[in-house]
């Protein structure tokens, strides 16, 4: 193994870090907003059906196929190419981001739903008898408890989205994986290049893991004190 080669490749792959972080961050943000919307939708009977169908479709199909459907599939329709959406859908970046957001929303909404269902009814009732409005209950009781409950599962989703961004390299985006793949087909030295890329992904997910442990401790310190004593 050639260390100077690994060093060069490492720096070259780091060039794709901004795009990877950009797609990762924005897809989590968009996915979280959409997931919250999907859960609010579930409060009505029709909305519940719509949200279930959405989750069923986007969780039940491979992300790679979703990316291809949006990138190649939508572009196959003439009316879409002549619509106002085309300036966005023409760009691989927006297609990739859209697919990641839609996919992340399906998973995140299920994680959040689990958290919401774990909120004790008593806590909500306590809020209601103290005279809180429905929105205040949602803001001060339901969501904080639900999010705390959903945190361990959500940190997995955050890491899984990091790895999911690698798939956009199939639609010409030069994220870290895209750069690594191009470098492999130029130099045919897959091992060194893939190791460099994997190390960067691993470092990023280490940060997420540590961050989620820290937040968990902050949000419910009593749980951790009890086990420590």
């Amino acid at each position: 193994m050639d260390l100077s080669f690994i060093g060069t490749m490492f720096l070259r792959i780091l060039g794709g870090l901004p795009l990877t972080l950009n797609l990762w961050g924005l897809s989590l943000l968009g996915g979280a907003i959409l997931a919250l919307g999907l859960n609010l939708l579930r409060t009505t009977r029709v909305g519940d059906k719509v949200a279930s169908a959405y989750v069923f479709v986007f969780r039940g199909t491979p992300l790679l196929i979703q990316i291809f459907m949006i990138y190649f599939g939508l572009a196959g329709f003439g009316f879409i190419r002549h619509s106002v959406l085309w300036p966005f859908l023409r760009e691989p970046y927006w297609c990739g981001l859209l697919a990641l957001v839609l996919n992340d929303a399906a998973y995140t909404s299920e994680i959040l739903r689990g958290g919401l269902r774990a909120v004790p009814r008593g806590a909500v009732e306590a809020g209601r008898v103290s005279g809180m409005s429905r929105f205040t209950i949602l803001r001060r009781i339901t969501l904080p408890l639900a999010i705390r409950q959903a945190l361990p599962a959500y940190s997995s989703e955050v890491i899984s989205m990091l790895k999911a961004t690698a798939l956009v390299s199939t639609i010409t985006l030069m994220d870290m994986t895209g750069i690594a793949r191009a470098a492999i087909s130029e130099t045919w030295r897959a091992v060194e290049i893939l190791l460099s890329a994997a190390a960067i992904y691993l470092a990023l997910s280490l940060i997420v893991t540590q961050l989620s442990v820290w937040i968990e401790r902050r949000l419910s310190p009593w749980q951790f004190q009890r086990t420590n004593r």
Binding site: F72, A75, G76, R81, R90, P92, S169, T170, T172, R181, A182, I184, S185, E186, W188, R189, A190
Partner: protein, 282 residues
């Protein structure tokens, strides 16, 4: 039968004998060749999965003349040359151009097509590139400069698609990217044409033979334009890839290709698949 310690011993000896016999059995094994199966008309895949095209025909003839048994498998372009270099496959036939960079990791047979690359555009784009019908040798610096700068002028601010780490992508990154042309690379050849027709790309670059196969199916909507380029970083024609140091196989195949060139078989194959002679005189 009762199982005793000696049963295991005997089974062990039998297994060891089989293992040591392995290399002897492998003596008359089939050589494994790979191709993409998605680079018309060099190699294509039928709906039932069988590979056909210029290169499967060519390889069959080469194997017959060189006297070896082989099996042709489909393998994606990225990873193909790596696979041959690692010895996973004995050879690759996928319109692979012989370049100095590739010669560092693999060896080649004698060339069987001469190459040359040009551009394709969608007809309704109204884009035409200068120099259509002229051939430029990249070894000729003055002619290259004149032709490349004219093409760069026409493509300024536009996007050109190309398959990743091909000689065409080398060409685009070397000559056109520094002059304000955006280059977008695709893992697969067919995706480039799909995005060209979808309007995501203003132009696509590939080998003349590949572009003419694409145009045959899309003659109402697309056209070839601009000068064609070869030589220099575009390499010295297309050859069969073998593992580095496998001179024996490369020489056997080169000799077979030479005899095919001498008796006109190579040209006949070229006429059959390309409707023009793209083969060199060996």
């Amino acid at each position: 039968m009762t199982i005793t310690r000696s049963t295991f011993l005997r089974a062990g000896i039998a297994a060891a004998a089989l293992l040591s016999a392995g290399p002897v059995l492998a003596e008359g094994k089939k050589l494994v060749f790979v191709t993409e199966g998605a680079f018309p008309p060099f190699n294509m895949t039928k709906p039932d999965g069988t590979l056909y095209g210029f290169e499967p025909d060519l390889l069959a003839e080469v194997a017959k003349r060189a006297g070896f048994d082989y099996e042709l498998k489909a393998q994606a372009w990225d990873g193909m040359i790596q696979g041959v270099a690692d010895g996973k496959f004995d050879g690759a036939v996928d319109a692979v151009t012989i370049t100095a960079k590739r010669l560092e990791v693999v060896d080649f047979s004698a060339p069987y097509t001469t190459g040359g690359s040009t551009f394709a555009v969608a007809k309704d784009s109204g884009l035409t590139l200068p120099g259509t019908g002229t051939a430029v040798d990249l070894g000729d610096a003055a002619a290259t400069e004149a032709s490349v700068s004219a093409i760069a002028e026409a493509l300024k601010g536009k996007t050109v698609g190309v398959q990743v780490s091909t000689i065409q992508s080398d060409f685009l990154n070397t000559y056109l990217a520094p002059r304000g042309v955006t280059i977008r690379t695709y893992p697969n050849g067919p995706d480039v044409y799909q995005d060209l027709m979808n309007g995501r790309l203003d132009a696509a670059m590939s080998s003349i033979t590949n572009i003419s196969a694409f145009l045959k199916k899309n003659k109402d909507t697309a056209e070839a334009t601009g000068a064609s380029f070869k030589g220099g970083i575009m390499g010295a024609g297309v050859g069969i890839v073998v593992q580095k140091g496998n001179k024996e196989l490369a020489d056997k195949m080169s000799a077979a290709l030479k005899s095919m060139s001498d008796d006109g078989t190579l040209e006949a194959l070229s006429m059959k698949w390309f409707e023009m002679n793209v083969t060199p005189k060996l």
